[in-house]
């Protein structure tokens, strides 16, 4: 009983502390980013799949569980395209008899922050961790994999290449580029999202894997190898 109360108080003071520490940042993000980015979890069930078609930007309400802070700081000052066909590809496609093509001109450019804004926003976003438990429960230890085995897994066995690029200009374009995934994303997130994308986003356009932990580990290690190669 006493312990429960203590826990509640601890959590409550944490919440209050976050709000006090990041009051200005939270307000800044609410004002400048909420028109495109979800900052609280949507009611997916009630909205229905139509809402995916209206999504303007990747959700940020679990940004702290997903992104590396240092990457956020850099990207917010010099944003570069991550999704070759935008956040909802059908909105950026023109259909012709020869097949669909991306309408580059329809892809938006991103707002740029200065260094101090970027640092503070990155700190605030990194504090948004509703799925911390899920991330903490991931036991994946980054390791190495041979180039050949990695590619076999990414291309042949699991068809990640169907929707993702593992090098600039090569691979599917409906998903975010993955040759930069290791620099952008926390390793535990890469593991968890690859294993069960629907648990992160019921409206994800990525098919849920029936992958076992071993297969997911190999894929994550391949993404690590790919980004180290690029450096």
């Amino acid at each position: 009983m006493v312990r429960t109360l203590e826990t509640i108080l601890a959590i409550a003071s944490l919440v209050v502390a976050t709000e006090m520490v990041f009051g200005a940042e939270a307000e800044f993000v609410q004002e400048n980013c909420a028109s495109c980015h979800a900052l609280t979890e949507p009611d997916f069930e009630a909205l229905g799949i139509e809402a995916r078609a209206e999504r303007k930007a990747p959700p940020l309400y679990y940004a702290g569980d997903k992104y590396r802070r240092d990457w956020l700081v850099e990207w917010l000052q010099a944003p570069e395209r991550i999704r070759p066909a935008g956040v909802y590809p059908p909105a950026h496609i023109s259909s012709s008899p020869d097949g669909d093509e991306i309408d580059e001109a329809s892809l938006p450019t991103h707002v740029v922050l200065d260094q101090s804004q970027a640092e503070r926003v990155a700190d605030y976003l990194s504090s948004l961790r509703p799925y911390q438990e899920r991330i903490d429960s991931v036991t994946y230890e980054p390791g190495s994999i041979s180039w050949r085995m990695g590619q076999m897994n990414f291309v042949k066995f699991n068809n990640c290449i169907g929707c993702h690029q593992d090098e600039p200009g090569y691979g599917g374009v409906s998903g975010p580029e993955l040759h930069t995934a290791w620099d952008r994303l926390r390793p535990e997130f890469i593991f968890s999202y690859t294993k069960d994308p629907v648990s992160w986003d019921p409206h994800t356009m990525m098919p849920g894997g029936d992958l076992n932990d071993g297969a997911v580990e190999k894929l994550a290690n391949y993404l690590k190898a790919v980004s180290e190669e690029a450096e």
């Binding site: 496609i93 259909s95 669909d100 599917g172």
Partner: protein, 114 residues
């Protein structure tokens, strides 16, 4: 008689989508057009670097040779469950049975009602 046939064909061209077809169309746009193309003819944006071409869902002859159950199984369990390429993913974690049924209804519209 000829006029009747022409009128009939025109009516078929303009048939408004049923509720199931409309739901299926939205699902198809979101999940399937990435590979099968917005119009279902197989030319999605992911195709240029794909080793196996996605099925053309407007191909009346090929699609008529499949039962609804076979189509639903391909969607639910992926290409490998119906002796096709693993490049066709399994969608059972993303879609409910009812959504898969709606997609099958929409596939029938694409292949055989236009």
């Amino acid at each position: 008689m000829k006029t009747m046939v022409v009128l009939g064909m025109l009516a078929a061209l303009c048939t408004p989508l049923s509720y199931a077809e409309t739901r299926g169309e939205q699902l198809y746009e979101t999940y399937c057009s990435q590979c099968h193309g917005l119009n279902g003819a197989g030319g999605g944006i992911n195709v240029p670097d794909m080793a196996v071409q996605p099925r053309d869902h407007t191909d009346t002859a090929e699609m008529s040779a499949r039962t609804d159950e076979e189509l639903a199984k391909a969607i639910r369990e992926g290409g490998k469950a119906v002796n096709k390429s693993v490049l066709m993913p399994a969608w059972d974690s993303n879609l409910s049975d009812r959504q898969i049924d709606d997609l099958v209804v929409y596939l029938r519209h694409l292949c055989c009602e236009q």
